[in-house]
Assembly symmetry: C2
Homo-oligomer: 228 residues x 2
DNA sequence: TCGGCTAAGGTGACAATGTCACTGACCGAC
DNA sequence: GTCGGTCAGTGACATTGTCACCTTAGCCGA
């Protein structure tokens, strides 16, 4: 968690996609021009009215990318983890249209910002960088495909079980209100409440205000593994 | 509709994103290396087990990109029209993961295939080509965001009315079975049947086997314009 | 410490959508 | 013609979403 480790000469090693096959000159350019910044949790990194001007690389923390519908409900599209990049925002830079999605720092972040001109020049000069960018794109698009599949075709109890497991990250607990979970899945709070009651009835979880303890992760995983 | 018009010296003019700001050398390279092909309707251009090896540009026709869930139901993600490109397939080329989506020629097509090495070199040498590619990406991602919003938050009658209008393209009729429309929207045939009956009861449409006549497009558009 | 404010969560009725099983209607091949 | 398959209609039911309203837990100032 120390920031000392991110002196400007070694952060590239944190990115699997950049540390392999990247030309030395490109590597130097990134280290020279990439600006390391600390961002507090809760910051909106991009969104309607906040056009991004950089390619963001994440050294530490998590960014939640979500979409808010006109009716005020929202759904989480994907998360950007440390070692990944917010590539979809780069498309925004060049886009003819505004994005509907917004990116929010879920934790305190340490980021590297690559200015647009540098991004553009690296794309031009470095096959390794191009591969990095397109691979990252591909991952995000796959994420979006998965979201569409889940929203359109998956039962809500299965999706909720999956999300509880994901959010717990093995800690055995999830800090989130029912409304938070509803926003994760793009559904209504009452639906989450009912499903959680059912999970509780089966002894899989225990609830307290704003907190859910996973008592039987195995059962939840079994449900999450079901296919419609 | 004649293919004579696509002699290898002028097709670029058909692509708004390519005809403006493209370097002459790049233009020549595209014309020299891009291979024009005719593809019959119904052909699967890419999909599971059909990794694409080219960037596809569409001179004529329409490509439907859809996703099939494990349960066998599918949903249309977007369509590629003449003058656009199948850029998402390029991410597939570089991806670590397979795509779940498949692209199907909805009509007879005339395409230009850009081989991977040429695509890569153009990305490197041409800012104009880069802009073209990223703009196309951006458009598709925006499409996916819209699909997610619709599936998660829009009423089915509104979505059906929108789709009927889109598919009719002003012709006043839609050639599609109820099952086809269900696949468009990612829902069940019975749901479409019931909604169409309601539209018919209101005098907005007339149905015959595999065919729907739009009698009152204005009313359908009014419904389609509603927001949840 | 008390009271009240606010966010979180619970509940029941109902509407909308999805699932299932089955039926009949239409259409082309023979 | 009739046969077989696709297309569409239907009712019962399950699941999910919506709405209105309520209770409860925690916080915070008086």
């Amino acid at each position: 968690m120390s920031t000392k480790g991110f002196a400007s000469d070694n952060w590239i090693a944190r990115f699997p996609g950049l540390s392999v096959g990247l030309e030395p000159a490109v590597r130097d350019r990134l280290l020279r021009e990439g600006r390391i910044a600390h961002v507090p949790a809760g910051t909106m990194l991009f969104g309607p009215g906040q056009p991004p001007t950089h390619l963001l690389l994440l050294l530490e923390g998590t960014v939640r990318v979500q979409q808010t519908s006109e009716s005020g409900r929202d759904i989480v599209l994907y998360r950007v983890e440390a070692g990944q990049s917010c590539v979809l925002t780069t498309a925004c830079l060049l886009a003819y249209e505004d994005y509907l999605a917004e990116g929010i720092a879920e934790t305190d972040l340490i980021t590297v910002a690559i200015p647009r001109p540098v991004f553009d020049e690296l794309l031009a000069t470095s096959p390794g960088f191009r591969t990095f960018v397109f691979t990252a794109y591909s991952r995000r698009i796959t994420d979006l495909f998965r979201v569409i599949d889940e929203v359109a075709f998956q039962r809500i109890d299965i999706r909720l079980a999956q999300r509880l497991i994901d959010l717990s990250r093995g800690s055995g607990a999830v800090h989130a209100t029912h409304q938070d979970l509803a926003s994760e899945l793009g559904t209504a709070r009452e639906v989450v409440s009912r499903q959680l009651q059912e999970f509780q009835r089966r002894g899989w979880i225990a609830q307290s205000r704003g907190n859910i303890a996973l008592l039987d992760s195995t059962a939840l995983e079994a449900l999450a593994a079901e296919r419609s």
